[in-house]
């Protein structure tokens, strides 16, 4: 009976979840928690009809031991800690004073209602019973608040206050519940004054003790993750395990378990995130979110199912309506009174609209339900009435308030949270302001908030971080650099998303600067001015002056690598529970990402410095191409070329096409110089022979592999046709070889190759055959790490490692390093003396335009 029922229920649950997620219209109006409760009600009804008695209900033990911890851990771990501690005063006030006020006021008012004879005489309850009921019904529930507020998107301050309150009021609820429960068991006659004192003392014990347990385990967790370098795969396990142990430990000694897990999550995050590997970080994140949302789903579902069980509850209209009325009323009164006091100390006061949302957002949920189920029917005579009332209150707050809070927020025009992109500026100024304010507080001798935060940060930096973070992580974890890194990664990812075309990159770099798109005229002049200085940007040529033999070796090497298809590196086909070998697919993705990143950096630099919009740039290119054709076909200068005459006076700019490593170099080198260079690249034969070939530029903006139809220039100039042939040859050959994932990157490399200049100069003919070399050379880039000389440019440059970045930890962290490489590579810049200039393809800047 039970088994098919459960299966049926499960299947239905997932079916409905699917429907919920599919139908955006429903979920945009109705919060998921409401739908889940309603679904639970339906399921409970089915089960009741089939089995004639309620099979399931939310067991308090299951709830407290298994369902609640993931949600609390998730919310603690991902709590925006700065926001939380900025508002800690308000949060604590609402959590402690507000909850105390709510429970006492509700309990007393209900008792008054009972005394007035408005309730059913069946409700046998004294003042203590009502206070007990008040204590459990008045606590704002973190699960419900999270479920509803996550969909409403009010501003962060408002959210953190309501949500923080719902988390921190656990201590008050636990203490009040336990104290009143024992008072009820003792009976009012046996309560002495000392018991009240004990109650107050136990509040401090429970809350501070719970926090201490959380901090202790956070410390342990951070310390353990510091030494898990060789067992990466169980890092996430430690996070979950220790947080759960913190919960159990606090629960065992009847401290506030929710506080323990919350603070464990908040405090360990910084160190744990710095210590564990990127993959573990992702695992922790997704597992935590999955666990939390599963628990949430189950909780709301079971709330619905348990409500059907009519044998557990007895209805009393006066009690239900009275409770509903009082909790709403006292919540509102409490919020208004406390806010009045708090606003005297807050810089940004909570205005009336905030107060309305806070009052209305006081949702009750599964914690209250579980607590009321836990009551002992022998001791608390009116338990059935209380259960019914709690269910109604929970349903009312989650369904009615949950449904209406969104329209209310819209109607009141509550400030929503704005998801603007994080900028490096904000990060920088936030840090700077912290220091400045701390300094001023120090000077005026005021020990305020900034003073203490500054002191804490210094303590953290001096002792805690040293103790709890890996050396490498400690060094790497500089926040400003962190943000820079993240921003770059995000740009790169969005760039890859957009298809990885050079032109989309140009567009990408610009939308944040709308004012720039309109400066076509000035940008042209800018461009002309800036193009006055050309510089050779390639590192490798200058650094390595090779002997002839070396060069031949290298050429041979390139040819071999170009023509041989390398199988992917194979990994040991061994199984281990504790190690995962990096995925092939993953490496390919990384390769594509890296290549695109480089390209993106190039275009980023060029668009940035040239300050032309993608549009104007395209137009310029168009012009440039026209002009190039003109010069190539050696027509007599007409009006158009006349206009371009001043451009030709500009100093030459190098445009080189190269294989991968040179590209990375070029992306670096672009930092220093001001002129925008679209591609800096090099043909391999240059290394070999060290000859200069003057040329002009053929810009082919689209990454097409198909050779363009022969133009006049191609007919006239032999190498043009030659090159086109080669392109065909390469493309047909390599599209077979290059895996599907690589195609995009491949196409790009082709497109960059097609921008190779075919020079109309003196030493034309035979050399241009060698343009095949770079083409072939691009091929093995997916396996590039094998080659020492290629991988060298991805490593951290030596001067950086010299400057104190500890490398000791980094060797086993291959993947992490690889992830950094595309960015770190950009540091190899500015080392290029312009003396190497003549060795490179030289173009008139104008022809490029």
């Amino acid at each position: 009976m039970l088994c098919p029922c459960a299966c049926l229920a499960d299947a239905l649950i997932f079916l409905f979840l699917l429907v919920f997620h599919l139908s955006r219209k429903v979920t945009s109006v109705v919060p998921e928690s409401c739908l889940l409760i309603l679904l639970g009600l339906g399921l409970g009804g089915i089960v009741l009809a089939v089995a004639k008695k309620a099979e399931y209900q939310l067991e308090p033990n299951m709830f407290f031991l298994f369902l609640l911890p993931p949600i609390v851990l998730d919310s603690g771990y991902f709590m925006p800690s700065r926001l939380f501690f900025d508002n800690i005063g308000a949060i604590l006030t609402y959590a402690v004073v507000g909850t105390l006020w709510n429970s006492f006021a509700t309990g007393t008012a209900l008792w008054g209602l009972h005394r007035a004879g408005l309730m059913d005489p069946g409700v046998e309850a004294g003042l203590m019973d009502f206070l007990l009921f008040g204590s459990l019904i008045s606590a704002v529930d973190p699960v419900a608040v999270l479920a509803v507020f996550e969909e409403v998107h009010v501003n962060e301050t408002l959210f953190i206050i309501v949500f923080g309150e719902s988390l921190l009021n656990d201590a008050v609820t636990v203490v009040l519940y336990k104290v009143f429960n024992s008072f009820v068991e003792l009976g009012p006659a046996h309560i002495h004054a000392t018991d009240y004192v004990k109650g107050v003392a136990s509040f401090f014990l429970v809350s501070l003790g719970g926090t201490a347990v959380g901090l202790l385990f956070a410390f342990l967790l951070a310390l353990i993750t510091r030494f898990t370098k060789r067992v990466r795969i169980i890092e996430p396990l430690f996070v979950f395990l220790l947080a759960y142990v913190a919960y159990l430990a606090a629960e065992m000694v009847s401290l506030s378990a929710i506080l323990a897990v919350t603070f464990c999550g908040i405090c360990c995050k910084k160190y744990v995130e710095a210590n564990i590997s990127q993959k573990s970080r992702t695992t922790v994140k997704y597992t935590m979110k999955t666990l939390a949302s599963s628990s949430e789903t189950i909780i709301f579902m079971f709330l619905g199912i348990s409500a059907v069980d009519t044998s557990k509850w007895t209805w009393d209209t006066a009690l239900v309506l009275g409770t509903l009325f009082f909790i709403l009323l006292f919540r509102a009164v409490g919020v208004v009174l406390q806010t009045y006091v708090l606003n005297r100390f807050r810089l940004i006061p909570l205005d009336r609209i905030d107060q309305v949302v806070m009052s209305y957002g006081g949702l009750r949920g599964a914690v209250a339900f579980a607590l009321v189920i836990l009551l002992d029917r022998e001791k608390v005579k009116a338990k059935d009435y209380f259960v019914a009332t709690t269910i109604v209150v929970v349903f009312f707050t989650v369904i009615v308030q949950g449904l209406t809070i969104k329209p209310l927020v819209t109607w009141l025009k509550v400030k929503r949270s704005d998801h603007h992109k994080p900028t490096l500026n904000e990060e920088l100024h936030e840090h700077a302001f912290d220091h400045i304010l701390a300094a001023v507080e120090d000077i005026v001798g005021h020990h305020g908030y900034h003073y203490w935060r500054d002191k804490w940060e210094q303590f953290d930096k001096k002792y805690l971080s040293q103790l709890l973070m890996r050396k490498s992580a400690y060094r790497l974890r500089d926040e400003i650099w962190d943000v820079y890194y993240k921003l770059n990664i995000r740009d790169a990812i969005s760039f890859v998303d957009q298809g990885g075309h050079v032109h989309s990159a140009a567009k990408l770099a610009l939308p944040s600067m709308p004012s720039r798109t309109s400066m076509s005229e000035s940008s042209v002049t800018n461009l002309l001015r800036e193009s006055g200085s050309g510089a050779c940007l390639d590192l490798q040529v200058i650094d390595t002056v090779r002997s002839r033999r070396d060069k031949e070796d290298a050429a041979m090497h390139h040819v071999l690598r170009g023509s041989l298809y390398k199988p992917r590196r194979r990994y040991k086909a061994s199984y281990s529970r504790h190690f995962i070998s990096p995925d092939k697919q993953e490496r390919q993705d990384k390769e594509i990402f890296r290549q695109n990143m480089k390209r993106r950096l190039e275009t980023f630099k060029s668009t940035k410095h040239n300050v032309c919009s993608s549009k104007s740039k395209a137009r310029l290119k168009e012009k440039g191409r026209k002009k190039k054709n003109i010069s190539l076909t050696k027509e007599t200068p007409n009006g158009k070329t006349h206009r371009n005459v001043p451009w030709q006076d500009a100093a030459p700019v190098l445009v080189m096409v190269s294989s991968e490593e040179e590209e990375s170099d070029s992306s670096e080198t672009e930092k220093e110089d001001d002129e925008g260079i679209v591609f800096v690249a090099r043909a391999t034969d240059e290394v070999l022979q060290g000859k200069t070939t003057p040329g002009s530029l053929d810009v082919c903006p689209s990454p097409c592999i198909i050779p363009p139809s022969p133009t006049l220039a191609e007919k006239e100039l032999p190498w043009k046709g030659d090159q086109a042939d080669l392109a065909v040859y390469v493309s047909s050959e390599t599209t077979k070889i290059v895996p599907v994932d690589m195609q995009k990157a491949w196409n790009q490399s082709i497109s960059s190759l097609e921008s190779i200049a075919s020079p109309p100069g003196i030493e034309s003919g035979p050399q241009h055959r060698r343009f095949a070399c770079p083409v072939l050379e691009e091929q093995p880039q997916s396996a590039s790490q094998v080659m020492p000389e290629q991988s060298s440019c991805f490593q951290f440059p030596s001067h950086i490692s010299k400057s104190g970045r500890s490398q000791s930890d980094s060797s086993p962290e291959g993947p992490e390093q690889q992830e950094l490489k595309p960015l770190m590579a950009t540091e190899e810049q500015g080392r290029v003396p312009p003396s190497a200039e003549p060795r490179w393809l030289m173009f008139n800047r104008a022809s490029h335009l």
């Binding site: 810089l347 940004i348 006061p349 205005d351 704005d418 603007h420 900028t423 490096l424 500026n425 904000e426 920088l428 100024h429 936030e430 840090h431 700077a432 302001f433 912290d434 220091h435 400045i436 304010l437 701390a438 300094a439 001023v440 507080e441 120090d442 000077i443 005026v444 001798g445 005021h446 305020g448 900034h450 003073y451 500054d454 210094q458 060094r475 500089d478 400003i480 650099w481 820079y484 921003l487 944040s512 600067m513 004012s515 720039r516 400066m519 940035k608 300050v611 930092k671 440059p797 001067h799 950086i800 400057s803 104190g804 970045r805 950009t826 540091e827 810049q829």
Partner: protein, 182 residues
């Protein structure tokens, strides 16, 4: 929005307290150098606290911006502070100071070479101070470029006050971070 409505009402209510605040600040100022600062200020004695006194405060020894703050708020830009400077510094950071004033002073603090622009070298100094020289010059230079790129609206390669204010307006919690309440 809120800061606009705040000053009129709070100024009225804080009128009596601002006097006591001034007195408190004066005592603090005097405590820094009792031998230099007289108790009687009626004839406006020309007393300045040398920067060494402020810079050598034990609380400040780790603060990267101590010298810059003293320089910006002192009248002659040399870090020696008169009582007026001292009070000015506090009033800029009080809640009643308008946002533009705060932005102006924040800008001045960043502008190390006093050329009314935050250029790359200024930013490099700032980042160096913030990161306690832990980043390599290359990293710092990259970061600074990005910072300028983000905020440089008129695209002259450096941040003018207008650029700075434009960026500050976009960051909603600037006001809440740049103030001190005693």
């Amino acid at each position: 929005m809120r800061w606009k409505s705040k000053p009129p009402c709070s100024q009225k209510s804080q009128e009596p307290t601002s006097l006591s605040l001034c007195l408190r600040l004066f005592h603090r100022y005097r405590d820094l150098a009792p031998q230099l600062v007289p108790l009687d200020y009626t004839d406006k004695p020309a007393v300045t606290l040398p920067y060494e006194l402020i810079g050598s405060m034990p609380e400040l020894k780790d603060n990267p911006f101590r010298q810059r703050i003293a320089e910006v708020f002192s009248e002659h830009g040399d870090g020696n502070m008169t009582l007026d400077d001292f009070l000015d510094m506090f009033s800029v950071l009080s809640e009643m100071a308008p946002r533009d004033l705060k932005a102006y002073y924040a800008f001045k603090i960043y502008d190390f070479n006093n050329d009314d622009y935050i250029c790359k070298s200024d930013l490099e100094k700032t980042v160096n101070k913030l990161t306690r020289n832990e980043l390599t010059p290359e990293e710092i230079s990259l970061v600074c470029e990005k910072v300028i790129y983000e905020a440089d609206v008129d695209n002259d390669g450096k941040l003018s006050l207008a650029d700075f204010q434009h960026m500050i307006v976009r960051a909603p919690d600037f006001l809440s971070t740049f103030h001190i309440r005693i």
